[in-house]
């Protein structure tokens, strides 16, 4: 059994920026332990000499000509924003004001 603790799950949730309830942390600690145990078998065959594949059909140097093409208007770009201030996205404070 992998050793996933509730403290670890709470830490991961803070890294992932998701508030979790104590009940969710308990459930996820259980689920994560079970899932990690099942997926850990990948290390059985992943020996040093095997290269990693990150992309099934890799392409390199995907460029386009450096010319201006049609893009969203400011109005379109802001159309889904939860809050705005004129032509800008409005966000809560970035830093905790002390």
């Amino acid at each position: 059994m992998s050793e996933i603790t509730a403290e670890q799950v709470a830490h991961l949730a803070s890294l992932a920026r998701i508030d979790l309830s104590p009940e969710e942390i308990t459930n996820l600690t259980h689920d994560l332990g079970q899932i990690v145990d099942s997926v850990a078998k990948v290390s059985q065959v992943a020996t040093d000499e095997i290269p990693a594949t990150s992309h099934p059909l890799p392409l390199t140097n995907v460029f386009r000509p450096d010319v201006v093409v049609a893009s969203l208007t400011v109005e379109q770009a802001l159309s889904g924003a939860p809050d705005r201030d004129g032509d800008k996205f409005r966000v809560p404070a970035i830093l905790d004001g002390e």
């Binding site: 920026r17 998701i18 997926v39 290269p51 990693a52 059909l57 404070a93």
Partner: protein, 512 residues
């Protein structure tokens, strides 16, 4: 008059071209069908009746004016809610995007509009395409038209249910680990995951970018091919889009109808994707189909893919890792909902965490946390790094297999449609349902599911998966339509002719 909802897209296309049926009539028939059955099925999250009829009227006017139109002009289509549509909400099945109307169309949506297809609405799905049953949709599950107590597959259960319940002849899906093929299998319909990069993903809400692929959903192999021809091909807006020129998939499907199309075709049966863990009726129909292929002159060869055993494990490391990164964009700033924390100061970080707590469902949280774990310092090499090596091994298994055979086959799913709730509390049981479909995504090769009969023990559809080498999508259509023709000749009808009649709603007719 013929029930227009029962026709294939190809037949409907002929009637439209001949002027025997108008696009408005075809669209109206499908909207009425949706009114009749979708209150119960819930294949659609949004139906765009007036806009669909207006689009259809425009196509009719263009046809009347003698404009040159594509073969599918005037044919209605349903669109999975993972694809951006500028005139319909796009939620990807999540509360965090409730009501969001994107300012642009996905490339595949723009292409089908340009080809004159008529978008009917958006179909239900597991939240952010995470699931195999639609039970993880934030808006409630879709029912399987064959048995309303069972799942329609997932994540694209809405698209598969829509075509198999005759609400639309065609639909778009997306397939990251089987989300087109598994729903096709359990609803008796057809679904294709094209080669990775073969169809643009611009405007598809990203789940796992090294795995996601958009593809066609339909009732016949030929219809899927017609739609593939509309949506496929290079898109400069998607930097992973292949620049290859592609043959006509429709022509490839027609080639499969010729006498002797299967003669000499080498069909590989993957040893690791059969036997233990597969429902008896699934194995039975699969074995019968192999016999049919052999009788038609195909050469059946058993091949081994020893590393497929590790595919599910690798997938459930790679997918959550990529998803946890992709879903970081849901930060309550540019789109989607914003929720303030109940207490404490209002900083961006705390608002983001409160928004994601309220906006994401349990499966999305589970996978984001798992992905964050797999990418953490100290675990990265053991988990994510090893999973990427398994990916190499699986590609090698495919290479070795395709050195011996032209196509590979397996059952599309280990079982027929399961009941709601059966696997909901056991994530690993749900994940193992994708054992047959995941290898194709890890390697980027194309795969198709088509119906091959009903399992005798429960009377539910069974699917055959066909896989071809990367970029050989056309081969799927040739072999697929040959098999479909053989099976239907034996049955004397199509698969979906056997589907139960659905209860019609009486009060909602015409409400759209």
């Amino acid at each position: 008059m013929t029930d227009l909802t029962r026709l294939s897209a190809a037949t409907l296309s002929t009637l439209l071209t001949d002027g025997a049926v108008s696009a408005v009539e075809a669209t109206r028939a499908h909207l009425d069908r949706i009114s009749d059955v979708d209150t119960d099925l819930h294949a659609f999250l949004h139906v765009s009746g007036p806009a669909a009829l207006a689009t259809a009227a425009r196509i009719d006017a263009q046809r009347a004016a003698g404009d040159t139109l594509g073969p599918l002009a005037g044919v209605p289509i349903a669109i999975k809610d993972v694809l951006a549509t500028h005139d319909m909400p796009t939620t990807a099945g999540s509360k965090i995007l409730e009501g969001w109307v994107p300012p642009y169309d996905a490339t595949v949506v723009a292409r089908l509009r340009a080809a004159g297809l008529v978008p009917l609405g958006k179909t239900n799905m597991d939240e952010f395409a995470m699931g195999s049953s639609t039970e993880h949709s934030a808006y409630g599950p879709t029912r399987n038209p064959w048995d309303r107590d069972r799942i329609p597959g997932g994540s694209g259960g809405g698209s598969a249910a829509a075509v198999s319940a005759f609400e639309a002849p065609l639909a778009l899906g997306s397939d990251t680990g089987g989300s087109i093929r598994q729903p096709a299998a359990v609803t008796g319909s057809v679904g294709v995951k094209p080669t990775y990069g073969g169809v643009s993903r611009y405007g598809a809400v990203a789940l796992a970018s090294s795995l996601d692929q958009v593809g066609p959903v339909s009732r016949t192999v030929y219809d899927a091919a017609l739609l593939h021809d509309v949506i496929g091909g290079h898109d400069p807006l998607d930097s992973t889009s292949l620049t290859d020129s592609w043959p006509s998939m429709a022509a490839a499907a027609r080639a499969g109808l010729a006498d002797g199309a299967l003669k000499g075709v080498r069909v590989g049966v993957i040893k690791e994707l059969s036997g233990t863990g597969f429902q008896a009726g699934v194995t039975q129909r699969f074995t019968e189909t192999l016999a049919l292929l052999a009788a038609a002159g195909a050469e059946i060869v058993e091949v081994s893919a020893p590393n497929f055993e590790y595919a599910v494990a690798a997938y459930y490391l790679i997918l959550p890792a990529e998803a946890s990164s992709n879903l970081a964009r849901f930060d309550s700033v540019r789109f989607g909902i914003r929720v303030n924390p109940n207490e404490g100061s209002l900083t961006s970080e705390r608002v983001m965490a409160a928004t994601r707590e309220a906006g994401f469902g349990p499966e999305v949280k589970r996978r984001i946390i798992l992905g964050t774990y797999a990418l953490s310092t100290g675990y990265y090499d053991a988990y994510y790094g090893s999973a990427q090596k398994v990916r190499t091994l699986i590609q090698r298994d495919f290479d070795a297999a395709f050195a011996q055979v032209d196509v590979l086959v397996s059952p599309s799913a280990p079982t027929t449609a399961f009941k709601f709730g059966e696997k909901l509390e056991d994530p690993m049981a749900m994940y193992l349902n994708d054992v047959t479909t995941i290898p194709a995504n890890l390697a980027g090769v194309p795969g198709m599911s088509l119906p091959i009969g009903l399992a005798p023990e429960d009377g539910l559809p069974v699917g055959l998966q066909i896989m071809a080498p990367a970029k050989a999508d056309a081969r799927l259509y040739t072999v697929g339509s040959a098999i479909e023709q053989l099976l239907e000749a034996g049955w004397g009808h199509t698969m979906l002719d056997q589907a139960p009649e659905l209860t019609l709603a009486t009060s909602t007719k015409g409400a759209l």
